[in-house]
């Protein structure tokens, strides 16, 4: 049998080739991989216990003492260890929030797009309504209502930022559902659920993947911000956001305490944003050579 079209390896290869051309995206991907690895192995990598305090060792400068490579904070805790463990917390929140966002958004988008009619009108009106509230306002109000735990913070971020995803998925489904493979499934008597989740959803994977990557970036940002304001991750558990809050009090004397966690946040957000941007270019359906 002669397969005239390209094999799946080379289809993935084409996407990879386009992605690789994007040097910033590649760099973003590497940063993300490094961050995930450092979060995963934080307990091994951290030179100290991040909660161990010793007021005799307050405000050590970075690179001065090899026991504290990045110095110590106002309670004498090791900054590098706190950054590593804080990254663990921030990335966990970012990823869980992203999963919540993507699942909610995809579910609503696919239901609105495939079911159409009244369901579409009601769901999309709900999306429009949610989008009327500035996200930070909505997020802070809800965050202030619930007791802050890692899970609740993630859920709050996820449940206040899914609207864009649902619009993207809906648009994709509207395009896909007119294709004959959906009619074929209906002719076979497939249930709505089967058509939505087995036939349509896998075909919307590319835009969902792009949105997911970008959503990790915004979730990390949101977590750091609400933690900075005191409604997020609570001390003594370190997160990049609450490290900034503490640091603000000693801003004029020990600026590195604020610079380091901020730089970590920036690096993470940039890594995911660049990765998502590159993925979008690589997977863009308009550029896709798919026959």
């Amino acid at each position: 049998m002669s397969a005239t079209a390209a094999a799946p390896e080379s289809q993935a290869g084409r996407v990879w080739a386009r992605f690789r051309r994007h040097r910033l995206a590649l760099a973003g991907g590497m940063v993300v991989a490094l961050l995930l690895a450092s979060a995963l192995f934080a307990p091994v990598l951290a030179p100290q216990d991040p909660t161990l305090l010793d007021t005799a060792l307050r405000f050590r400068a970075p690179f001065a003492d090899w026991h504290f490579p990045l110095g110590t904070d106002e309670l004498g805790r090791d900054t590098l260890s706190r950054l590593l463990h804080g990254g663990r917390v921030s990335l966990t929140v970012g990823l869980v929030a992203m999963v919540t966002t993507v699942m909610t958004g995809a579910l609503i988008g696919i239901a609105a797009g495939y079911l159409g009619g009244i369901a579409d009108t009601v769901l999309m009106r709900f999306v429009d309504t949610m989008l009327c509230f500035p996200q930070v306002f909505l997020l802070l109000v809800v965050a202030a209502f619930v007791p802050p735990t890692l899970v609740s913070i993630s859920l709050v971020i996820g449940l206040t930022s899914w609207m864009e995803v649902s619009r993207i998925v809906r648009a994709e489904i509207l395009h896909l559902k007119e294709q004959d493979f959906v009619a074929a499934a209906r002719a076979l008597g497939a249930s709505r659920a089967r058509i939505m989740f087995r036939e349509l959803l896998p075909n919307a994977a590319a835009p969902i993947l792009v949105a997911a990557t970008l959503k990790v970036a915004s979730a990390v940002l949101m977590e750091s911000y609400i933690s900075y304001l005191g409604y997020g991750v609570q001390p003594p558990l370190a997160s990049w956001g609450n490290m900034l809050t503490n640091a603000q009090g000693y801003f004029d004397t020990v600026p590195w305490l604020a610079i380091l966690p901020g730089a970590a946040i920036t690096l993470t957000v940039m890594g995911f944003n660049f990765l998502g941007d590159g993925l979008r270019d690589a997977l863009d359906p308009r550029l896709r050579m798919d026959p």
């Binding site: 949610m130 989008l131 009327c132 509230f133 500035p134 802070l140 619930v146 911000y225």
Partner: protein, 317 residues
């Protein structure tokens, strides 16, 4: 045109109803309900809370409460603050000018800068400038606004001592325009950063799209000079997506203003929101949610109308 505006206004009604339902729902989702703040106060007895509950009408069925609350929202009675008992709308409105000043100055800077960068990038596509600008925009969009604010304070206020680190006036200099402008620089810079990045990206792609249209080639063939081509032919056509962006941007502008105001202690609505959050001032929080949402709806409405005004094709839809 009047019909178009009327239809758009009609379409805003379900949005307003939706917004009010969510706002009302959130208030009742609050732990302990709208009166939680009183239960925290040890000097207030249980029977006092019961009295307040009746005064506020919280003993009535939920739909009655909603109707009362919603009619209040649309007739200007937004309730009273827990602390001080002032009308919520007054509290919000007195903070509005500071926020509008900040948003206005940041938006003007961002549009001027972003538009210039975007147009220049589109005209000289793939030049060094263009590559730097698009990469820079992506960097700027990834910058956490609040950290950027802190860094700006560190550099310009603490290290260099060029500018004040926060507030709106120097103590005792309220009303001094020079002092106001000095205080305005850093927050404007911080808020404008992300908006500039967005605008440069959008205007670049809007102009690139327009510049490849046939009428642009025709204008060139006719011998219209480059500057006139850009201003008279490209600009009116590229303006449409940019006006739409302006409408869509309103909620981001509020979010950004909230962040910026908390960093710089700017006495605007964002600052009020964070303060109200700390004091569990639910009436103020909900009032601000409603206020911003109405602003967002109005922003989109105005953008739609503006687009219809410059593009006769839109009105026919």
């Amino acid at each position: 045109m009047i019909g178009f505006v009327a239809r758009r206004l009609l379409q805003a009604i379900p949005l307003l109803i939706g917004v009010s339902l969510i706002g009302f729902g959130l208030m009742h989702l609050a732990p302990g309900g709208p009166l939680a703040v009183y239960t925290l106060n040890p000097t207030i007895q249980a029977q006092d809370i019961e009295r307040i509950r009746i005064i506020f009408g919280l003993d009535q069925p939920i739909h009655v409460q909603y109707v009362k609350w919603a009619t209040g929202i649309f007739s200007g009675n937004w309730g009273y603050t827990f602390f001080g008992g002032r009308p919520v709308l007054d509290v919000i409105l007195e903070r509005l000018p500071a926020t509008l000043l900040l948003m206005g100055s940041a938006l003007s800077v961002a549009i001027l800068l972003g538009l210039s960068i975007g147009v220049l990038g589109a005209v000289k596509r793939y030049s060094v400038f263009d590559v730097l600008a698009t990469t820079g925009a992506l960097f700027a969009l990834s910058f956490p606004t609040f950290w950027f604010g802190l860094m700006a304070i560190f550099v310009f206020a603490i290290e260099l001592r060029w500018l004040p680190s926060g507030g709106m006036w120097e103590l005792g200099e309220e009303g001094n325009i020079l002092s106001l402008l000095q205080h305005l620089v850093l927050p404007t810079l911080v808020l404008a950063l992300v908006i500039t990045a967005t605008w440069s990206r959008y205007s670049r792609s809007a102009f690139l799209e327009v510049m490849h249209q046939d009428y642009m080639r025709t204008a060139r063939a006719k011998g219209v000079p480059p500057r006139a081509r850009l201003l008279r032919h490209a600009f009116p056509n590229a303006a449409k997506p940019l006006i739409a962006l302006l409408g869509v941007e309103v909620p981001f502008l509020f979010s950004g203003a909230l962040v910026t105001e908390t960093i710089f202690g700017w006495p605007g609505m964002g600052r009020l929101f964070v303060d109200a959050l700390g004091m569990k001032e639910y009436p103020v929080l909900m009032g601000m949610m409603m206020f911003t949402a109405i602003f967002v709806i109005l922003g989109n409405l105005l953008a739609d109308i503006a687009i219809a005004a410059i593009d006769p094709r839109v009105r026919l839809r």
